[in-house]
Amino acid sequence: MKEKDKKKEKRIMTEFRVFVTDEKGKVVRDTGTKECKSFVKQFLVYIVTDLSVHSRTCKDVNGAEFDMTAQRYSLSKYHKRGLISANAPAEDDSYGIQVGRNDTPPTNEDFRLQEKIDHGDESGQLEYDNMMFLDINISGGYVKLPFMRTFYNNSGATITVKEIGLVARVNFDNKYCLLLRDVLSPPIDVEQGKTLTVQYIIKTKV
């Protein structure tokens, strides 16, 4: 590889792809794979809290600051997961991949989607399916972690999606924090009866 090309090669990347399929599963609209803007502040707060085992201040999706708990003691048994989870089930729009209708450019300080589209089949809503984490794969020298979520439009009218994001549930505190936010350019329309799929890929390359 030429030295000039080597310098442009990214090593830690997050990408997204958003596409719409019709009732037959045919892709009718596709952004193609695009680079994410970046992780927002809460992602680094989580990393430092986790690695240091020391609480750090974080902002939840309501804009409220809280101390992200790094350790916990319980006399009784409980389901212990990691510090955060993004494995939202179907119909739960409080975390996992979310979609919204605002195109305000992302900033480091974003703590939620600007205008989240809620789950449901009412006007302006999309039906959130469960999060899916695909197998880690290696291609093009990158180690890749893909994950995705689908959103079905049963609202009766076209919905325009302008922003996407990833929200994690903070398990010890039962709070929700934004990790990623991107604005789609151009926005993507999801007609009645069609399904939107949002896929993220985190990839690294030494």
Binding site: I12, V40, L44, S52, Y73, S85, A86, N87, F133
Partner: protein, 202 residues
Amino acid sequence: MEKEEMEDSIVLAYRVTKQDKKKHIIYDSGIVPSKSFVRQFIDCMKVELSDTDGSAKDVTGTEVNMPGDIYAAEYHYGLHRADASEHNDDYGILVGASDTPPDNSDCVLYSPIHDGSESGELEYGEMLFHDVTEESGYIEASMRRIFYNGGTENVVVKEIGLVVNQTHANKNFLWIRDVLDTPVTVEPAQTLTVQYIMKTKA
């Protein structure tokens, strides 16, 4: 900004400094871009985000299971810890003596330098973590560790890395490995400081 000028989603960098016995900095690598996270970082992130079991190669090269969700009582931490105490060379920032180029599949430092004051050893300090701050439009977090040469011979450091303890499996996994552009010779009574920096910018 043109696409090809966009930076990584997470800018990962390191800085290595050396101090003499009077604490004067006598060597500074400056901020150097890290090669990247290695495969185990992705393996660990999947377990964390998905709440499901996964597997990865630990520092012994053994593929081990990493439970995502365990049903248990007592004291619990997050899924990953790097808060190694002094003299603990099992995890946290580690240093080594090999200059084999990094690879996605690296699971250990090739030639770890162990804690101690014997020949070829350095005394590991505790891991230190800095608060998340904002600098020049970037959100930045960093961690560092010092290594003191309490022996009587020079120790040459060629590789550095970050090993994380996955708490459910209680195994250690390499997340980052770098080979220094210029090896650093740590003479008796000198101190090496290794700092890893992570930055993001939306």
